[in-house]
Symmetry: C2
Subunit: 614 residues, 2 copies
């Protein structure tokens, strides 16, 4: 039944030979790899205003513009740094790989932990922001936002478990549509304001302007830190180089350049429109939607804006669904994460990673009530830590290798590392009490867990290693023939089947019965006499209605005469039932005993199936 | 870890010898066995008013009194009927047993289904009414009523899993306190009204008296049907006869008589007080609490009333926790319910039945938002069906056996059967659309399920029956020696252990490897050559990253040369990990394959444990 449901949702199992990847052209690589970066402008400007408006009121917009300028500067620095990564890691230069190569284990695990946290947050933030775009257009849905967001996450999970073909055309269209619609809005908005004399409604502005404060350095830094979420997703291009058509590295660099241009245009344009139209962040309607209503009215274009915003945000979440399981599979292959994460599922996707992401992101959504703004203090710290480690890794590489032109390149990556490091400190410090502390605790915890996992795998490997002395026995003398115990509940066909099987593997068989119900035991004794099985029957009484303890006590007693180190075989009958719900009708005693017996070094458990026909 | 938690909540395992039952005197048997019956008056009067007040307004109280009279008449009829059951079933005459003895399988299963539903409803109704008593005293808790009710159910569940000693003193005190407090209230209330000239507040009465209707036959019958919930729990005494001190039957009859007197006094008294003090049912405050505030003010006695009401209702729910698992164990012993329900748990209680009751009652509480009034339409139908079947069973007994004085006795039980049957029709009809239809559907569904279960057990027993021809083989010739396949993943110590074990049971061993990762397979091939195991290695490629299918294909292929009917032994290595969380670090492949292999008639699975040290 479960497997039917799975097949319906996930589809038929795919063969390993069907694994393939589409190669991107610049035209379609751009929208697929940049949806995360571009979509983040849908909430980054709003985050700056959340910081400034309550203190500065109408004066906020001026400083918002300055903060946006700083972020754009940071963007260009990152772009130059990443161009060098692309040149040097044609197989994909994620932060984990770059820091593993150049900085060592702990930094690479730190990058892995930071990135993992951020992928989870990308899904939570993007889907909740996508829901906010929907509820801004249809306010009646506002009260259901948690359910809508989790529904979106589930759809993405199922889609990714099915292994959505990397169809760049389907995934690319929403990004281009979003760029188009926002582009139209920016131009229309400026024209409407300057040439058609539109006066923005100010009813939303805080009433008592007199209670407001003044700009301070700390306030501006907080605004800048909040806006840095605009830069999340920039690293995606350098991760995805192997997916580009040849010349892959050149194409990747072109895409990176175009990405920077688009982010500059949209982020700058939207910040400018916020200023003109006095948008004020609120939990009911997004800043983007506020601008949209004023520029477009409530007609077709407004809904087009909300729909494309929702779609690009969902695409952004989808990139995390592609990247997080892949990152986990790298970590897992290195032995720092459970091995299951490196195994491909029925549909060739890394299903365990996808499911983990779904659970973690859904938990965050429920915990934070689906509010994008509430999730923000946790976001971006991880991204900037991974930026810093990636750039530091590149810097270390130049210093070590000293290839031609290394000084120039080291300066760029070094500057990148320095600036992103400062940004980490800024973001961490300003958002610490609001939630960044969770991330600051989680990263070392995750690193420790990963180290412990590696340690465990190493220990297991050590214990399993074959040594020269451990040659297999090529022949077995009679002394080593195994001794068998059959558990008997009552005399029936299944017991006879088990007994016949036992005879085929051993000449030393004992039947063992644990008496719980006196009546049943008497019946068994009576029937045992009538029925000549030719083996001894041992009966032990159990005071605690339990079979395991009397069995072990018997095996270890002198009565049974076990040689030290000898392996005893216990034969159990497994009833096999053809309908799953029949399982509730049978005591799962055999199963319980089996699971207990596994823990004994000297006991091998044989289950002989007995099929109950319907 | 789980077992530690269980020990903390439930306690240490008890030995079968510790099973014992306290015997009741009349003094302490009365409160223990009657808490269900007595406590139901806490909501029965209110239920009558829910029907009448919206139509009749102030005129309701007159008709409430008539309805109460009818119910009291029914009560006395039941008492006389049940006295005869007590005489004839000294081992306890529950409806299931009486109808099984005298009416046959289907009626007894109908009684079992009806009773099971009603026990679940007793828990749901009593705990939610108990919570209503608490929230009437502390209105601030009203919004948490679902959580409070489920908390009470959980406490009862844990208490019963621990196997609360049947300590009649602890359980009896709340009942006596309730009788005492309500008795004081009835007397004080009458004195206050007639002699101290208290005028009841009428602010709660519906304002527009003019829109009200007149009494109709149908309305009165509905009111009567709603009040019948007062009679639930009367059958408890006849179930509990074996628990009485000698002379058990005489004592039980005395208790039954006293029970009738107490219900008459409290139900009559409370109905009369409702009339005097114009109580109006509401979802915020119970009728009992409304009367209590007016009679006692809001001092100590009011809180005493609410606390004792809550306690006696919780005790009533507790009796269902004692009786439902016992009933299930009877049904289960007869083969109509899963066998697990007749096994005693760690603490000698029928734990599975207790847990089922907890889940079912909690589900009802959540589904109906913890509102007592909303649950009522489902209640009482089952009780009266079981009354009817029990009385009909007694009637059939007299007709069949014709013992001295049978005519007289047959008239009493026949009248009981007739009147309770008419009541079933009345309750079913008037409450049908409000929820009784659920019960009317559930009973035949449950009966069908129980019959199917019995059918399944019969079929299994038939298939397991030993026949004369099926003698066990006393010796095994070499032809019948078993063939062994060892699954090999990589060459390590655990493989050597499994191989050595395989050699002790067979001389025909094949190593089998499924290739999923080409690299790993090449490594295995290389090492296999170096390492001389002395057995053939078969390698098959799996396209779907799955081990089961290639293995089965190989076993069934001509290559392996299986004889028809031959049992093949598959040896698997089971890694045993000393810390539970290490399980997530290892592929559970062995476990999956094992569970698949069990379904094959001709494959015995051996698991050889390999313990990984910490």
């Amino acid at each position: 039944m479960f497997s039917k449901l799975r097949r319906l949702l996930i589809g038929e199992t795919l063969s390993s030979e069907q694994l393939s990847h589409e190669k991107f052209s610049v035209l379609w690589g751009l929208p697929v790899l940049s949806s995360d970066a571009i979509s983040s402008v849908a909430y980054a400007g709003e985050e700056i205003l959340w910081v400034l408006i309550p203190v500065l009121g109408l004066a906020s917009y001026k400083y918002m513009f300055y903060a946006a300028l700083c972020i754009v500067f940071l963007l260009f620095l990152l772009i130059f740094s990443y161009r060098q990564t692309i040149d040097n890691y044609p197989q994909g230069g994620g932060s984990y790989i770059v820091s593993k190569d150049n900085l060592g284990t702990i930094p690479s695990l730190t990058a892995a932990a930071a990135l993992s946290i951020d992928y989870i947050l990308t899904v939570a933030v993007s889907t909740s922001a996508g829901t906010a775009a929907i509820t801004s257009a249809i306010p009646a849905l506002l009260e259901h936002k948690v359910i809508i967001t989790i529904f979106i996450i589930l759809i993405l999970t199922i889609g990714n478990l099915r292994g959505l073909k990397d169809s760049s055309k389907i995934f690319g269209v929403p990004t281009y549509l979003f760029i188009l619609v926002v582009g139209i809005m920016i131009i229309t908005g400026i024209i409407k304001y300057y040439f058609l004399g539109y006066t923005p409604s100010r009813q939303v502005i805080i009433e008592n302007q007199q209670t407001l404060g003044n700009i301070t350095m700390f306030l501006f830094i907080r605004a800048f830190a909040s806006g840095c979420t605009a830069l999340t997703g920039v690293e995606a291009v350098s991760d995805g180089i192997p997916n580009f058509k040849a010349p892959a590295q050149k194409n990747a660099k072109i895409v990176l350049g175009l990405l920077a241009g688009i982010v500059l245009f949209i982020f700058g344009g939207l910040s400018y429109l916020s200023t003109l139209y006095h948008a004020v962040p609120s939990e009911q309607i997004t800043v983007l939607a506020q601008i949209g209503t004023q520029v477009f009215g409530s007609g077709f274009m407004f809904y087009a804006l909300q729909i494309t915003t929702a779609l690009i945000l969902i695409m952004a979440a989808n990139t995390a669904f592609a990247d997080f399981p892949l990152l986990l599979s790298f970590i897992s292959r290195d032995g720092y994460a459970p091995r299951q994460f490196s195994k491909r599922g029925k549909r060739l996707s890394f299903s365990n990673g996808i499911i983990l992401l779904c659970i973690a992101a859904s938990a965050l959504i429920v915990l934070f009530g689906g509010k994008t703004h509430a999730l923000m203090p946790l976001y971006a710290v991880g991204v900037f830590i991974s930026f810093t480690l990636s750039q530091s890794g590149m810097f270390a590489k130049w210093i070590k290798e000293k290839t031609p032109g290394w000084r120039h390149k080291a300066v760029i990556n070094g500057l990148g590392a320095l600036v992103t490091f400062i940004t980490v400190i800024i973001i961490g410090a300003t958002k610490f009490v609001h939630g960044a502390w969770v991330v600051c605790i989680m990263i070392p915890v995750l690193v420790t867990v990963m180290l412990k996992i590696k340690e465990h795998y190493n220990r297991v490997a050590e214990q399993l290693k074959l040594t020269e002395e451990l040659r297999p026995k090529l022949a077995v003398d009679l002394e080593d023939k195994c001794k068998v115990i059959i558990l008997v509940d009552s005399l029936n066909k299944s017991f006879v089947k088990s007994l016949n099987y036992a005879r085929s593997i051993s000449g030393n068989i004992t039947a063992f019965h644990v008496s719980i119900d006196n009546e049943e035991t008497e019946k068994l004794k009576r029937r045992w006499k009538e029925y000549d099985a030719g083996i001894p029957l041992v009966i032990k009484h159990s005071h605690y209605r339990d079979i395991y303890d009397p069995l072990i006590t018997y095996i270890e007693s002198e009565e049974y005469e076990t040689k030290p180190g000898e392996t005893i075989t216990v034969v159990l009958t497994q009833f096999v039932i053809t309908r799953w719900w029949h399982n509730v009708l049978h005591n799962q005693t055999a199963l319980f005993i089996k699971n207990m017996l596994y823990k004994r070094r000297n006991i091998a458990v044989v289950t002989v199936p007995y099929i109950i026909e319907e």
